[in-house]
Symmetry: C2
Subunit: 274 residues, 2 copies
């Protein structure tokens, strides 16, 4: 097995560098990767300490490490580049074509304005508080302030999707369960009826729902495959009949589901002219 | 004002392309950007529809759009590149130096193995359920299973940080408030004493805490600046005396705080040899 150390260096959290680096490296089979992270690289002192560590890794591994960098400040990236490593600089590669296209020099400054960050932070925290206060139908108050209301059977993935939409995108996301009483009545929960244009459904394969519910309440009627089949079929039939667009969580990650929903919400808004 | 359309194209969610693109474009002042997103670009049919849209934008704007792409499949990126736009291909730029360094060809395949994704999904959902069940000291059961327990005064940012650590990194993150009774007793909450090595503190400036609490309970003693000053000072003194490492949320985003904590936790584990 080919073993390589992969180093992620950023003046921010390094999450982008790591996600992109992992995406690229997933294209190479049979290589065992050891990740080492240097986030918040914002001074020459930190760069010097990092240089020593890269040299050490180079000697221990007997092969040069792979370094993914997102650094705005040229003096820091220049200093780091003196090490013996393969540098993949995610900013450097694109700044120069962008400068040419936009007809202006880049500012090489770190981060956005402080005021904007604070505003963005407050918006996401407010959205998270909304998602927590409107999780699993806890409260039907303030639903008029929701950007989106997710519906679906218990344990189909409504909570993680709502929280991700709020934390990542600052969206006010409520969620409401569809339960056997709704299926008996064959109608959506009463409190949701005024908000039809904000409703999106989630569904999941009965087999996967069964596995998830078994972990929570083993050997229960609630978790049985037969009951999961009935509930999923009833929920999908109710959503179909009431014209609610729905998405299948079965083979999607939380991020993927969140982005599918964002697309649907934006499209819905465009069509409603709002 | 210079107006440009910036297009994000990805075979996944496009979150990485957008984050990196926004980071790069924040280096250019005075340009008003209009984002257009094409996630899940996984077929030539979708590429052809996208091509038409790029042409339309090109004509409407009177200037070519900027396109950030993360696409594994060459045939799709090749087809898109026939449009009149500035293409910044986040994969293409680095695949070839990586192929040379690693001495092998990339597979140009989309995504990780399905099994791994499912495992990762289950881990993050379990972590999120743990974070919700252990939010704000709701439950002291199972704290032995926590990877980290955050402590701090009410509304200092423990909940969003715990949820982010769980959803993004799959970490089992509990959080526990430090309340006036703890300061009177001048000791940590009893249930936390067995888990000293998992405790990390959050703090915040009294002014910012005051603003946050005012929104929740206007004109209350709880939200008053004087009380916020007392609580923050008492919490920091308690953490200092009991040797708990703590971080200041005041000018940090949720992601930044989460990454600082990840670093501290990993370092703590290395030092404990676990």
């Amino acid at each position: 097995m080919n073993r390589r150390t992969v180093i992620f260096i950023s003046d921010g959290t390094g999450i982008t560098a790591e996600t992109l680096g992992n995406g690229l490296l997933s294209q190479f089979a049979g290589i065992e990767l050891r990740p080492v992270r240097f986030p918040f690289m914002d001074s020459l002192e930190k760069a010097d300490a990092c240089l020593l560590r890269i040299d050490e890794i180079r000697r221990q591994d007997g092969v040069r490490p792979l370094v993914f960098m997102t650094l705005m400040k040229e003096e820091i990236s220049k200093r780091l580049r003196t090490a013996d490593a393969l540098f993949l600089d995610l900013f450097e590669a694109f700044i120069s074509p962008l400068e040419q296209e936009l007809g202006q020099r880049s500012t090489h400054s770190v981060g956005r304005s402080h005021g904007q960050e604070r505003h963005e932070y407050a918006r996401r925290i407010a959205a998270m508080n909304f998602a927590l206060a409107h999780d699993d139908g806890i409260s039907a108050a303030d639903l008029k302030n929701a950007d989106v209301i997710l519906v679906g059977v218990s344990r189909c993935g409504k909570t993680p999707t709502s929280l991700y939409l709020s934390l990542q995108f600052g969206l006010m996301a409520a969620n409401y369960p569809l339960i056997p009483e709704d299926f008996d009545r064959d109608s959506l929960p009463q409190p949701l009826l005024p908000f039809r244009d904000k409703l999106y459904g989630l569904t999941i394969s009965p087999e996967q729902l069964h596995r998830i519910r078994e972990e929570r309440r083993p050997h229960s009627h609630y978790a049985s495959l037969a009951n999961c089949r009935l509930e999923v079929a009833a929920a999908e039939s109710l959503m179909r009949r009431t014209g609610i667009a729905w998405f299948d969580m079965t083979s999607r990650s939380i991020e993927e589901m969140a982005v599918h929903l964002m697309q649907a919400i934006n499209k819905g808004r465009e069509e409603n002219g709002s």
